[in-house]
């Protein structure tokens, strides 16, 4: 049985934050779940996926976050507890649905999880999604720890039902990817079927309806203002003249700092866990007896702005600080020492930082950046692409996935990237305004997610670019989730359709479509050259499964290669491919047989034909 399905209240388990969140939702009786995978949220969905294989929980990998929210909103309005999981930037994709869903509301609990990523461990920006609460008028809950996340998610469903509104559940990477001991609670029954009652004058958001629904939303907002003021998630610890207001993981750092600085009798801490709407009367009362207040929150000055406004409304003039140059930054994530030091500084508490050893004499350590795996098919495609476009002036808009890593030398494939799917849309703009050859690259999953509209745009507006679709039959970057192009039957999952990228592209009216096998270098180069010569939109579909995924599926392996003594040390293999299976030993070029996947790309580019398959024995 899946470990998150165990019905054993009181059991203590070591869970990853994302597992704890999934467990909490299961305890709450969630019956319908949807997602588009995105780090740091991915393991929540992975666990839902696994649980759905052995229970009546419904889970789907949706095409993108907007669709994920749409299916979940329908499920919740049909009376089924639902959850929709995405990373922070996914909410931008879903925002169109979100804003009006807030007007329409839900019949049963709907929790929308946004996993923010301060410091951008694996994201293109570090936007603070608490502002989505303000923008939409929806309530936001934010846990401070893994164990709290599990409990809070159950409450989020109840809150959603009380307000008949979706609830936004905001985490940050350090909740999602931290591990702690969690105590299991009882499992609520899953109700997987409901019904939808027609009520077009409350559901069909034409202007006349929406004018009324907005009134309803504001009434709901009033209710949530009452609820946030009495919420157990906005609590105060301690008493004293120094006031600290904090949220999320900062609460942990603050609590530890209070101990480290021995200021227990001087500080009172307000932890905000129900952060939209902000609890006005709690904050107003908190001001009483405070000499000064420090607001400690990662990201934007979301709470600080609200707190200062509340102070102003109540004519309170005590100093309130947070995001200022010499205290706390809007950039990146916080850490315990940074929070401790800011507290010491602001409240004038004597503090001696730990003696750190002098590290100035440590030599520069070679960087270890992430790299495409040995034998990754993207490397082969990118090499062929560079060969085919040799001598051309190019602009290469790339997209989001493992293949983004190809922007690094020596492959250097990638010039412009702003969001999921942007490679196809931006291609048209570059093609129109420059005389350079525009070549876009996008992965299969991203193509389905949001690359298709940009391609349609290119065909309709008659732009001139080549789109290379890297079809490795999985969503590799986030941990090998399926996508609509994947042969699910082949993976032993029943009940799925499969969409052919080739048919989609041809159906859109692209006149020049070629499929290549990227490990066949010469043929690939020729095919790409022809596509580049084509005037208008041309598409190359580069088809080769992700080699890491194949390995994990224990598919048939190819023989590894080795560098024979024919090698004259041109190092073309190393310099042009950057495959991590290569290393140099006593100035000899070598291939690590444990890493080599036998893709044979290096063997095809070696001018001496020195690279050969390892012979049996």
């Amino acid at each position: 049985m899946h470990k998150l399905l165990v019905d054993n209240p009181g059991q203590k388990s070591l869970l990853l934050g994302n597992e704890a969140i999934a467990r909490g939702a299961i305890e709450a009786g969630v019956a319908f779940t949807s997602t588009y995978p995105g780090t740091p949220s991915s393991e929540i969905s992975l666990n839902f996926f696994q649980v759905s294989q052995e229970s009546d929980l419904y889970f789907e990998y949706s095409t993108n976050e907007k669709v994920a929210l749409e299916v979940a909103s329908a499920a919740a309005n049909s009376g089924v507890r639902s959850m929709c999981v995405m990373k922070h930037v996914g909410v931008n994709v879903a925002a169109d649905a979100l804003m009006t869903l807030a007007y329409v509301g839900v019949k049963k609990g709907l929790v929308i999880l946004t996993a923010d990523d301060p410091y951008m461990f694996s994201s293109q920006n570090e936007q603070d999604n608490r502002y989505y609460g303000k923008l939409s008028g929806l309530p936001i809950l934010e846990p401070s720890s893994v164990d709290e996340a599990k409990e809070m998610i159950i409450h989020a469903f109840d809150l959603s039902e009380k307000l008949q509104e979706p609830v936004i559940f905001r985490t940050t990477t350090r909740i999602n990817h931290s591990t702690a001991i969690v105590e299991y609670g009882a499992l609520k029954e899953r109700i997987t079927k409901g019904d939808f009652t027609k009520d077009p004058f409350n559901y069909v958001t034409v202007p006349a309806v929406s004018r009324r629904l907005h009134v309803k939303l504001l009434e709901n907002y009033k209710k949530s203002e009452e609820l946030t003021n009495t919420s157990e998630y906005n609590f105060i610890n301690g008493t004293g003249p120094y006031g600290i207001i904090c949220n999320g993981v900062s609460y942990g750092y603050v609590s530890d700092a209070v101990n480290d600085l021995c200021i227990k009798d001087k500080v009172k801490v307000l932890r905000i866990g129900f952060s939209h709407p902000m609890p006005k009367s709690v904050i107003r009362d908190f001001f009483n007896g405070c000499e000064k207040i420090l607001v400690i929150e990662e990201g934007e000055a979301y709470m600080e702005e609200a707190i200062k406004a509340i102070a102003q409304e109540n004519k309170i003039t005590i100093p309130i600080a947070g995001k200022t140059e010499d205290l706390l930054s809007r950039l990146y994530e916080f850490d315990p020492a940074l929070v401790r030091e800011s507290m010491a500084k602001y409240f004038n508490i004597p503090y001696k930082a730990i003696d750190k050893p002098d590290l100035t004499d440590i030599p520069e350590i070679p960087q270890r950046p992430p790299n495409l795996c040995a034998g990754c098919s993207h490397r082969a495609t990118f090499y062929a692409l560079q060969k085919a476009s040799e001598g051309m002036e190019t602009i290469i808009p790339n997209d989001i996935g493992c293949y983004t890593l190809g922007f690094m030398p020596p492959l250097s494939v990638g010039d412009f990237l702003i969001c999921m799917g942007s490679s196809t849309g931006t291609a048209g703009g570059f093609a129109q305004t420059t005389d350079k050859k525009v070549i876009s690259v996008i992965g299969d999953s991203t193509f389905f997610h949001s690359g298709i509209p940009g391609l349609i745009n290119g065909v309709f507006n008659n732009h001139n670019f080549t789109l290379v679709i890297l079809d490795n039959e999985t969503t590799a970057m986030t941990g090998h989730q399926p996508n609509p192009g994947v042969d699910m039957k082949g993976l032993n999952f029943e009940g799925y359709g499969q969409i052919s990228i080739e048919k989609v592209v041809k159906g859109l009216g692209v006149q020049h479509v070629t499929i290549i096998k990227p490990y066949k270098i010469r043929k690939s180069v020729e095919a790409i050259r022809e596509a580049l010569d084509f005037k208008g939109v041309s598409v190359i579909i580069s088809k080769e499964p992700c080699t890491l995924y194949e390995k994990s599926l224990k598919k048939k392996q190819r023989k590894p290669f080795y560098v024979s003594d024919k090698c004259k040390k041109h190092k073309d293999c190393i310099n042009d491919l950057g495959c991590p299976a290569f290393f140099i030993e006593d100035s000899n070029i070598k291939i690590d047989p444990a890493m080599c996947t036998g893709c044979a790309v290096c063997a095809q580019i070696c001018p001496e034909n020195a690279i050969m398959p390892v012979k049996d024995n």
Binding site: L14, P40, S178, I181, A353, L359, R368, N371, I574
Partner: protein, 198 residues
């Protein structure tokens, strides 16, 4: 209860996440509060994977620069890179078998000299335990057991509030059945190596 802060640093694929899991499980068995964090995502494609483990009454799940009590590194250059996490009282345990990053192969960086690296580390912290953990894992009969060798050495220092017995029980329950025997052997080899270096 005292708080103990441990950083484990490794190269993606070296199995350090399993060692964190074992220690977390051992803490659960010992009724010791534990919180840990790790970085997933991009780092998995051959990058550095760093985990933080905090034992005792603490709410943070990450460790600031200069605040680790112990640093365990699966790779010598990575030990050097993680020195910013250490203070003068830190104990450093490192594998000495290098895994040069690809930037060295393409000539955009030089791998540090192993002897000099050890001198540097020892001069800055209270104790350095350094040995070829790959050789010991081979001796144990499982080249993938570098993580268990290093856990053995870590257990020998007695810095963590965990008993050897509980760590071994966690190895038995949390690692693959077929490897339990070699994993335990690897653990013991790491333990006695650290003892020798005391």
């Amino acid at each position: 209860m005292d708080i103990t802060r441990l950083i484990i640093t490794a190269v993606g694929g070296q199995g350090n996440l399993l060692s964190s899991k074992v220690l977390g499980e051992a803490a659960l068995l010992s009724d010791i509060p534990v919180r840990m964090s790790e970085i997933h995502g991009m780092a998995q494609r051959g990058g550095v994977v760093e985990s933080a483990l905090l034992f005792g009454d603490v709410k943070s799940t990450i460790i600031s620069d200069g605040e680790a009590d112990v640093l365990v590194s699966f790779e010598p250059a990575e030990a050097l890179r993680a020195m910013n996490k250490c203070k003068s009282e830190t104990v450093v345990i490192t594998n000495l078998a290098p895994l040069p990053p690809f930037t060295v192969t393409i000539g955009s960086g030089a791998y540090p000299d192993i002897d000099k690296l050890q001198d540097l580390i020892s001069s800055k912290v209270s104790r350095l335990i350094a040995f070829d953990a790959v050789a010991l894992s081979k001796e144990a009969g499982n080249i993938m057991a570098v993580n268990m060798v290093l856990l053995g050495a870590l257990a020998q220092t007695g810095i963590l509030p965990l008993t050897v017995e509980n760590i071994k029980t966690a190895i038995k329950t949390r690692t693959k059945k077929t490897f339990v025997e070699t994993n335990l052997k690897a653990f013991d080899l790491g333990y006695s190596e650290a003892e020798k270096q005391n």
